[in-house]
Amino acid sequence: MFSFILRKLATVIPTFIGITLVAFALIRMIPGDPIEVMVGERKLDPVMHAAAMQRLGLDQPLHIQYFRYVKDLAQGDLGISLVTREPVTKEFLTLFPATVELAICALLFAVLVGLPAGMIAGLKRGSVFDHGVMGVSMTGFSMPIFWWGLILIMYFSVTLGWTPVSGRIDIEFDIAQRTGFLLIDSWLSGEEGAFKSAAMHLILPTIVLGTIPLAVIARMTRSSMLEVLREDYIRTARAKGLAPTRVVVVHALRNALIPVITVIGLQVGSLLGGAVLTETIYSWPGIGKWLVDSISRRDYPVVQAGILVSATIFIVVNLFVDILYGVVNPRIRSAK
């Protein structure tokens, strides 16, 4: 078991190194003078130019620069933002919890709705429910989510006035940041209406961000269910005279859920990408919006850091899913 985890870790390391190389190279590939790019100003006079070059270590050979970059990374230094002049790491840590909160809620939404829907659709193949689930999931899958977000605002916030238009919480509330998760913090603060406000602000972004994962999970669960139900061991279970409920819950479910776990893990990628769009629409103060704003503001150290962090999150989650898959599927665990 332990060796299995170690083996999986080992495969991930080269990829991670590759990512750092890409992030490192990113800034240097932007057209224009790298010094000007990195300092954020045009037309520096020669003295300042030389000083900046030395300060940033750009007069060193490339591999030295790379090692310096990695060393900084290891110490948690992601550079300085060109716009705010603050350390990127500090800004990042402030904004990150907002994205995580949104992502977790969206994933929960997708799993809690999509999984049962897919299962039942698979069991009742060809029924109205099945076609309904497939139709809805197909639509969700084909929708541009930024438009979906706008439509929801248009209908629920503007026309019906049920949900707020943007932000994480009503402006009048000033909640102390303890965990960074507003749902928890507002609950802890005890201020009246704070929790409700935070929750209401979460609803629309959660639905929007969770739509595509929901569609994918529902479809995957359904097809996995259908495949498992065709297997020989289901025939054996029925030949044993077991009740249909037992056949499904005990024999089919366990095996059907295995591939779904991988899919759920892979949705993190969709969540990261979707967060960029969702946060932009709902002015949600997370790293997605931060990344997009930085690009238009040419705040390259932020972009570089954002790419690196997103990729790292993605790799870590995939690794976790791989290991989980091995735990759940006895064949992978004991093989080799």
Binding site: Y233, N255, P330
Partner: protein
């Protein structure tokens, strides 16, 4: 009274306008303690018959029969819940590929104990004891440790023994074995066949052995049914069948056994293939391939008379009796 009585069983697939009869008017009987072999090629309908008996045929398949009686119960009239009390307990089935027929996510012990829990209501120590007993009965060495093994950790032969243990857990009156040894090595084949024979005798079970290999069944069965394209074409006691086959198809099957071609230049084979969905003949289903076919054969379907479905059954010398 026979343990199992089937009359005019018909299993259809496909559209109602253009159905495909996988089983086309089958009659079958078996008594307690009898060992009957069902022989036929792929596509002859032998497995489908047994699946229909067990209630395992789903829509869009349609099962109809004039009679389908097991141990006094009319299976056609039983509600699903009642049928489930019989299936898995009094009638059991084992399948060809043991590895895929066992659930990969559960231990062998769990799968054996399941039938015992559901049908016999065993719990705790009694359950454990019986499960162990069963593994020993099927001659699995180191039975105790095997209970916590997963199917993919055991060999093909062992898995098949596990399947047999699962099937006989509740002392069934009838055991159906669908090609249990086809996927196994020859030496293991012999062991499994011996095991099945022994268990059958010890528990006085009816045993239906489905196979496409005549040689395998020759030693064990008392009676053999030969199936072709969804129908029984010949039924006879084993010795009679081998000594003097009466249906041309049976004759062809026997001729096709390599041992019978000693000294010949080429192995004997029946030309053509089993009729499928689109090419079922109007008359006798074998007529396109039968070397003795007459005009009458390709016009009308013969009925099963005196154990053989042929207008001109072969005589004792193996010659055709057509005029």
């Amino acid at each position: 009274m026979s343990l199992l009585k089937i009359r005019n069983l018909r299993v259809e697939f496909g559209s109602l306008a253009h159905p495909f009869p996988a089983v086309d008017g089958l009659d079958f009987d078996i008594d307690r303690g009898e060992l009957v072999g069902i022989v036929g090629e792929s596509g002859s309908g032998k497995s489908v018959t047994m699946m229909a008996l067990m209630g395992l045929i789903d829509a869009p398949g349609r099962v109809t029969a004039d009679e389908l009686v097991f141990d006094g119960h009319d299976l056609l009239k039983l509600k699903p819940a009642q049928r489930r009390k019989i299936v898995g307990k009094d009638i059991s089935m084992i399948f060809q590929d043991a590895l895929t027929s066992l659930n990969p996510s559960y231990t062998v012990g769990f799968q054996i104990k399941e039938s015992l829990k559901v049908h016999m209501g065993l719990r705790g120590a009694a359950l454990e004891k019986r499960a162990l007993e069963l593994l020993e009965l099927v001659e699995i060495p180191a039975a105790k440790s095997r209970l916590s093994a997963y199917p993919h950790q055991l060999s093909g032969g062992m898995n098949q023994r596990v399947m047999i243990a699962v099937a006989i857990a509740c002392n069934p009156k009838l055991l159906i074995a669908d090609e249990p040894t086809t996927a196994l090595d020859v030496t293991i084949q012999a062991q499994i066949m011996d095991l099945l024979e022994r268990l059958q005798k010890e528990h006085n079970m009816g045993l239906i052995m489905i196979t496409h290999d005549l040689a395998v069944i020759a030693e064990m069965a008392k009676r053999i049914c030969v199936m072709y394209a969804g129908q029984v074409v010949e039924q006879a006691p084993v010795a009679d069948l081998f000594r003097a086959p009466r249906h041309p198809y049976t004759q062809a099957l026997l001729e096709a056994i390599p041992e019978h071609s000693k000294g010949a230049h080429r192995l004997s084979a029946l030309p053509g293939i089993v009729p499928g969905h689109y090419d079922r003949p109007k008359g006798c289903l074998l007529s396109p391939r039968c070397r003795y076919a007459q005009d009458k054969c390709s016009q009308e379907r013969p009925a099963l008379l005196d154990g053989v479905r042929c207008y001109y059954p072969l005589n004792a010398e193996g010659e055709s009796t057509h005029g």
